[in-house]
Amino acid sequence: MQTELADFARQHADGPEAADILRACVHCGFCTATCPTYQLFGDELDGPRGRIYLIKQVLEGQAPTERTQLHLDRCLTCRACETACPSGVKYGRLVEIGRELLAERRPRGWRAQAARRALAWVLTGGAFAPLLAVGRLLRPVLPMRLGAQLAPARAAGTWPRTPRARRMLLLAGCVQPALAPNINAATARVFDALGIEVLTVARAGCCGALRHHLDQQAAAREDMRRNIDAWWPAIEAGAEAILVNASGCGTMLKDYGVLLRADPAYAAKAARISALARDLCEVLPPLVAALAPRLGPAVSTRVVFHPPCSLQHGQQLRGVVEGMLVALGAQVLPFADAPLCCGSAGTYSLLQPAVSATLRERKLAALTAPRPEVILSANIGCLTQLSGGATPVQHWIEWLDERLR
């Protein structure tokens, strides 16, 4: 699509990249079909093709109003549109740039800014765990849904401490250790069973995605640099990979290289981090054969796997987890509309609660239609979003961990 960048956009560091992405879009509309918000609203402006147009208008220098803001805010950044796009339009990147430019051109009101800052602080800083504890205490008096989602955490169990020859770093995450401490521990146990030692580094924290998606790009880059510094010694010492068991964070890590490319001090290191980042499902499949003899029978064999958007669209890893589960004896049930987002989308569920709730309902209906015993997924956001219904929800690594003998 033809685009005439306005001066400010041409001079902006990301302007030319955005223009290139726009040029690739041929306005065919294939992407609208897989867009969750287009399905809900039926308005071009709430679909990828319309959002691309809105971003184009910003780049071309037209003054955006709160409506452009609204439509971009409603985007889940699930990137289903990217998977659907035959023309290879990198929508995820475009909307990031679009949001950044929009924030510059049309700063949010102070209330909205403050709320976003507070949210970022609560979720990534030290305050989340204590608040969560309070929430859990208050569960009986909270509204149904929120209460349901604050179900008690599964106990983490023991963390294997045996030193191994092969070592991999693990991104511990920010909200996950508080919400579901068992996921990291289960990861460590499964890898330990395969003779791989999993390390976490205390100083590493949030991957930066939370702040990145709350219009705090500068702060997000701070998160990234802090993590790089924290991991660097272990990487120099030969850690093979940086494992990620929350696909949302994995997508972010894989973008470090792009996001810090203009930072001379960190560009090279960031690229190395991106190259080392691996979702669990990129590492485990070749080792499945070795794992099989160590496994007992599964508690639940009829499973559905909800592929997080960050996994299937963000990292384009489709069918890998499912294939592995089948190889490990699970009956993976098909369900409708697998490419659609569950509505969690990081902080989206907090900022757009109505849309998020509708998408959750639809997703749960689709997932439970084939009557599974358990819903498996691969990202903390989705796990939280989908929990609280009649069917239990687990990270697939936990399902695997339960079978370790």
Binding site: M1, G42, L45
Partner: protein, 490 residues
């Protein structure tokens, strides 16, 4: 068919605001610009307003109001049309039917589905799948395009050689004429009394009535389908192979061609496994009972081999078959990887001229300095040359338009038509002057008036004005060849 706007803009908008909820009416440029074109981005126009009704009563109210005030109404589905049929009218309301996306009924006994107009083509087949049925017409855009748009364009698909176009698979259309009067065309019985108005409404590009509900015929999913991918060293040979298959008494379930440039375009996205060394590949499908398919695949392979196919590969399983088609179906937008824009034309010619036409297009590529991959419904003789150009370069745009126009003129010259399935819209108005004489064009205008006497439903499309044809006639020499094809003319 100029329409007179009787009321001024603010009054019309105020009146619309009284009948539509806030989120169902877009009026600011910021909101209406993303609606300024459909899948054809060469022609753009912002509407006065976009209406996004959610109830049938709102549709009727918008129609009545606009009719009373003399305001043009342009219906829109998913906006994937490639001819600008859903191009907004500057002084009119763009009536989006996208929110009507419910499947009302799938009837296994009757083998029908009744759906709202905004339901996506593919969603119908998905809903019918548990009954072992599907909706046969499968335009490449089927993931996104709506049945309302399909009805308006009489859309075809890669399987319509055997299973027919939209027209052959729609039983009944319920809707409204431009004045908000309820009408029903066709019926659930094999035919309806009186003239076959359904045949007029299907393919009328939203100019005769607004579709509110469609009942389509569903067909049983064949037990088995397998697809042959045949390679050819020369495009003309591939063209001849198409005629040879038909002459052998075979009606393949699908018969499509991609030339080398086209297969190289899609392969990176679709990983379809196309033979990238072949000058052209033919996809040739057989469906039916396993015995029947086996017999037919053997017969087809034999004919293809006799027609100089250099390689024949038969899909081994359903996954591979779907891959073959995925490449084909994603071909147009994949052009976006190779160039900022593509211009897809839609001429249909007698099958026997395919080879010759492809050669002519190759010559045009050199003349216009633009490349043009070809991917098309070979079995129907329906071409889709994709002229690749740069839409930020006016010279490139002009060359692309002239290139497209010349292909269409050539289609008419070879005894074909300027559009097989995408419609005339705004895009092919000029070529309509070449294909039809004035009395016939006037007859089209009279048909339009029979449904829409005031001419406010999707005005200005399909039927070129006398003036336009006169202008166009001055530009071209009789016989279709442009005197100076290198000059921009639009």
């Amino acid at each position: 068919m100029e329409s007179a706007v009787v009321e001024s803009r603010p009054e019309v908008l105020a009146a619309l605001a009284r009948i539509l909820p806030r989120e169902a009416l877009l009026v600011e440029a910021e909101d209406t610009r993303p609606y300024e074109c459909d899948g054809l981005t060469l022609i753009r126009q912002r509407p006065m307003a976009v209406a996004l009704p959610q109830t049938e009563a709102q549709v009727v109210a918008v129609l009545r109001l606009c009719h009373r005030l003399g305001v043009p109404v342009v219906p829109r589905g998913a906006g994937t049309g490639l001819a600008g049929s859903a191009l907004p009218d500057a002084g009119g309301v763009l009536l989006s039917m996208a929110r009507f996306n419910r499947i009302l009924a799938v009837d296994r006994r009757a083998c029908t589905a009744t759906v709202e107009p905004g339901v996506r083509n593919l969603a119908i087949s998905e809903a019918a799948a548990p009954q072992g049925l599907y909706y046969a017409p499968d335009p490449s855009s089927q993931v996104a395009c709506t049945i309302g748009g399909n009805v308006a364009e009489n859309s075809g698909g890669v399987h319509c050689l055997k299973y027919g176009l939209t027209l052959h698979n729609v039983l009944r259309v319920r809707g409204y004429t431009v004045d908000g009067e309820a009408v029903e065309f066709g019926s659930l019985a094999p035919d309806a009394a009186g003239l076959d108005l359904l045949a007029l409404v299907v393919g009328s590009e939203g100019m005769l009535a607004v579709t509110m509900e469609v009942t389509v015929r569903l067909v049983p999913r064949p037990e088995l389908a397998r697809c042959i991918m045949a390679s050819f060293a020369d495009v003309a040979q591939a063209g001849d192979a198409v005629a040879a298959l038909i002459a052998a008494g075979i009606i393949p379930a699908g018969l499509e061609m991609l030339d080398q440039a086209a297969s190289r375009l899609v392969e990176p996205f679709a990983h379809a496994g196309y033979d990238l060394e072949a000058a052209a590949v033919l996809l040739c499908e057989s469906d039916g009972t396993p015995e029947e398919v086996e017999e037919e695949i053997a017969h087809m392979s034999q004919v293809l081999r006799a027609a100089q196919a250099t390689r024949i590969q038969v899909s081994r399983d359903e996954a591979e078959r779907l891959k073959f088609w995925a490449g084909r179906k994603n071909a147009f937008p994949a052009a976006g990887r190779a160039a900022p824009a593509y211009y897809c034309t839609d001429g249909t010619i007698p099958r026997k001229h395919i080879g010759q036409m492809l050669k002519s297009i190759q010559a045009m590529e050199r003349r216009y300095g633009l490349s043009c991959p070809n991917v098309f419904h070979a079995g129907d003789g329906n071409l889709h040359p994709l002229v690749l150009f740069d839409d930020s370069d006016p010279d490139s745009v002009a060359r692309a338009e002239a290139f497209g126009a010349e292909i269409l003129e050539e289609s008419v010259r070879l005894g074909g038509t300027v559009t097989g399935e995408h419609g005339v819209g705004m895009e092919k108005l000029n070529q309509m002057c070449s294909q039809f004489d004035r009395p016939t064009l006037d007859a089209f205008a009279a048909v339009k008036r029979a449904f829409d006497p005031a001419g406010t439903l999707n005005p200005g499309k399909v039927i070129p004005s006398l003036h336009r044809c006169a202008e166009y006639g001055r530009q071209r020499v009789v016989g279709g060849a442009l005197p100076h094809p290198e000059l921009p003319r639009f």
